[in-house]
Symmetry: C2
Subunit: 76 residues, 2 copies
């Protein structure tokens, strides 16, 4: 079973990596870049005995820092 | 205009971060984890004057290391 977890900084949390990419794109000559936000995409290959509650626990306990990050779970 | 670029390691390229998460999930008691692969999700907020060729150039020149990474561009 394939499950994708996208982890990204909450709105309002400064994204230094995103800012760096923003400036780099500007210096490459792309002047149409308003903002860049960078997150993690975690692709899990799981046995079928793992249920939705388990996946949520994985996210809350390990995959995301829920103080500053949000996450979305996409199955399949 | 919102564009999402998912950057992930090519198949066959070792993913140490993914392996670390795999072992961590195991030690948390989740024994149904076959594999974990971690990539970057880059969300670009662009002006409408940026075209598809520009976005591809951004990926090839900066956002992805095309030697070991693949990327996909999702508009909207």
């Amino acid at each position: 079973m394939k499950v994708t977890v996208n982890v990204f900084l909450k709105n309002g949390v400064l994204d230094p990596a995103g800012k760096a990419v923003e400036h780099a794109l500007g210096s490459l000559g792309f002047d149409g870049v308003n903002e860049v936000r960078i997150g993690k995409q975690i692709v899990l290959n799981l046995k079928d005995n793992i249920n939705d509650a388990d996946i949520k626990t994985m996210c809350e306990e390990l995959l995301a820092n829920t103080v500053i990050e949000d996450y979305e779970i996409i199955k399949g």
